[in-house]
Structure formats: structure tokens, C-alpha cells
Amino acid sequence: MVAPQVKGLNCPNCGAAIQLRSGELAQTVACSSCAAVLDAKDPNLRVLQQFQGKVRTKPLIPLGTRGKLKGEPYEVIGFQRRKIRVDDVDYFWSEYLLWNPYKGFRYLTEYDGHWNDIVVTKRVPEVKGGKQPTIVYLGETFKHFQTATAETTFVLGEFPWEVRLGDTAVTRDFVSPPHVLSEETTDHETTWSLGTYVSPQYVWEAFQLPDKPPAPRGVYANQPDPSAGSAGELGRLFLIFAALVIALLVVRQITARRDMVFRQQYVVSSRNADSTAFVTPIFTLAGRTSNVRLTIDTNLSNNWAYFNLALINEQTGTAYDFGREVSYYYGSDSDGSWTEGSTVDRSTIPSVPSGRYYLRVQPELGTDNPTPLVFGLLVQRDVPSVAFFGAVLALLAIPPILALFRHGAFEQMRWRESDYAPSSDDE
């Protein structure tokens, strides 16, 4: 770094040494010892303002620290503490004035561990009105975030303007993460600056500061969402995988054998369940281990039936026991006609090895209708199931949905601190 020309003086208030690094550009300088504000244009450094406050703030980056920002060397020459008051609560932040004799001034701001690298804009942005004003600046759309009155509460070092404790300016912030456009209006002038959110580690490395930077708290106005874009990307990946699942479903529907291995009709008129049990003829389930679909098609009419069922392997003696309830009711009332249940029931027995099987059936007939029960049994081998495909699609959708919620929660935290917080609408 080129060594800046430093002018050495003494504070007329406390006698402490004062260095002017920005030379002729310095308008005011605040003594780093007694915090008195002095006139840098006066050869004797006339005292403009005594520091009356009780709380003195120690800058996180000491005055005179040199570092590199965007590849250019800068030196910290000024520090001010400012505040805004919202709903009777004071919010303080720090501003560091950086100086490079060839590049000019730039600023670093810090609030609750969040840092911004700020430069004054060359163009005046044009604000478009509306419920929430916006600015299109360098092709980027900024949304109004907050308007407040900022007050200077503490200063150290030198400044290229006449700074005083208690100075106020109306600030308007417009955000487009990671950028923020800020307007500051005083009685004399309006300035615009463009800030870029930077990590605390970036600042610490730039100025070779010791220890660790304070951890950021909460979400800052122009803090970029680290998961931004994740929801969209996961959504696109979901669509790819969903297409794959649907393609698999189509292939399965086409290639499933659906072998009809048994079909028979039966009639039951007895209401005594103990006397209705019977077994079907033996049928063969061929091929690889696969599922078996049993369809019970009945003539039920305002009645119910319960089927105790067992698919039994005639060779090994292994049985698959299950029960199925079938009911079908219909009628009409003041709301019109209605139906409930179905005359047909389908059930699937999973992973049945090949072999010779028969069904043991014990129907139990309801007493709501005296009509004999006529029912057909249809046994099919290797029938596709849509349920698994639906379950897989639902599971695949979970990560993109969670990412969407996470992004929404981040944005909600950001805007909670703005003039557009949800609670502000009611006020």
C-alpha cells in the first residue's frame, strides 16, 4: 500500500496526538482520546463540540487499521455510531469510513454482526411510487424496506463533512439481496449509496483482525438467503424424478402379467358361518415371487358380508390368513339419493412364492337382507399397484417443500424488521 501523507497535530481539548490522513479533504476530526469534535480546516483545530455522552464505543476495527477491499488498499480513518428509533426502541449501528488516496472513500457498516461494504453511487436512482416503492438500478429491482431518521451518537477520527453528535438524516433503504440502496437526506443534501452484504469473515480477513468476528444475529435487510434457489432447484430435480417414476409406472402397467389363475362363482344362503366354510380347487401360481390379487364380486344389496379367507400352499402348508368386509347400501332421504360401500372388493397378498395353492373361504352373511349371497372369486398373479408409486412421489416431494418453507421463513424474518412487517398492515 502507498503510505498516505499523515499530518500530525494535537487535540486542543486534551492534548492527545491527532493524525489527519485524508489531508485537505478532512472537514472535521474527532479526538480518539476525548472524543471532542474539532474543525480540521482550522490550523489550531478549533473545538466544535465536546463529547458529553457517557457511553463510548470501541470500534471493532481500530482507527488506522489498513486492509484490502476488492483488491484495493484502504485505511480506517473515521468511525461513527448512529441510531434509529422505531416504536420507542433504539437500534444502533456502526459506520467505518475507509480512505484510499487514489480510490477515495468507502464505508463499512456493522449491525448485530452483519456487515455491508458501501460506496456512494454516481447516479441518482429513480424511485417509483406505489404501496411499496421500488427502484430499478443497474438492471436490479430494489424494494423499499424502511424509512427512518438516523441520529449520530458517537464519532471518532476524521470525516470529509462537518459531523456533529446529534446530526440527523432521513434514511430510506431499498433492498435487493445482497445489495441495499440507501438514501440519506439532510437539510442541505441528499446522497445515495450502494451497499453489498459481506460476511464478517471477509472483513476480518481483509483487515487481518485478531480473534473471531461477532456472530451475526437474526436476518439483516439485504442478507442473502443461503438456501435461496434451493427450493427451485429441488423442484426441478423433483420433476425429473417424478417423470422417471411415472415412466416406471407406465412400464409396470404394460409389463405386469395379471395372470388369471382362478375364477369361480358361489352361492351362500345360510346365515350360520360355521356351515358356510369351503375350499376352492387347487390352482397354480407360477413364475417369480410376486403378489396375488383377489377380487370378490358380490350381489350385495343393502346388506353386508364378511369373508374369512386363507390362501394355503397345498405343498408346504403355509397359509396367508386375512379377512375382508364387503357391504353395499343405498337409499334416498331429504338430501336425495345416496349410496355407501361397494359390491366389489379387491385385496392384494404380497410376495407369494410360486406353488400349488387353494383358498379356504368362510363367508358370513349379514341379516339386513334375506337374499342369498352370490359372489365370484377371481385370483390374479402379478398385478401392478399404484399405491407405491404415489407414496414414492409424496416422499420425493418432501425435500423441495421443506426448502420452500425454509426460504419463506427466512424472507419472513427479513421483512419482519421492515416497514412492511405483517403486523404493520393493521396499524
Binding site: 353386508w304 374369512n308 345416496w338
Partner: protein, 65 residues
């Protein structure tokens, strides 16, 4: 994009592979009670067989609207 979401890609691939295997083997969400060594006499006397699943009562359906 795949690199950034490798965990999701792996999760999705495993899920789809499991789906394919499940369909191939004929898995189902429900599973009947499996009973071993059912006597051959069931074919001659079907009424003597007692189902292994927990079913009590008539199975009466509570009908109507």
C-alpha cells in the same frame, strides 16, 4: 445442480430403486398373517380351520348414512 443436491439425488435414486424392487417382488403396504404347517385335512374339513388373525365378532358393518 445435481452436485449441489447430491443427498437428494441419492435419496431419490434409492427410493426409485426400492420402488422397482418392491414392484418386482410384489410388496404391499398390508400383509396378511402368515401361518406355517397348516394340516392337509383342512381340504377335507374346511370348517375346522381357525384363522390366525385377530378377528372377533360378526364383522357387522355399521351401515347407512
Amino acid at each position: 445442480m445435481m452436485q449441489r443436491h447430491l443427498a437428494y439425488v441419492v435419496f431419490a435414486c434409492l427410493l426409485i430403486a426400492t420402488l422397482g424392487f418392491a414392484e418386482w417382488r410384489g410388496w404391499s403396504f398390508s400383509r396378511p398373517t402368515e401361518v406355517k404347517n397348516v394340516p392337509r385335512s383342512v381340504r377335507d374339513n374346511p370348517g375346522s380351520y381357525r384363522p390366525a388373525y385377530l378377528y372377533h365378532g360378526s364383522g357387522r358393518y355399521l351401515r347407512g348414512k
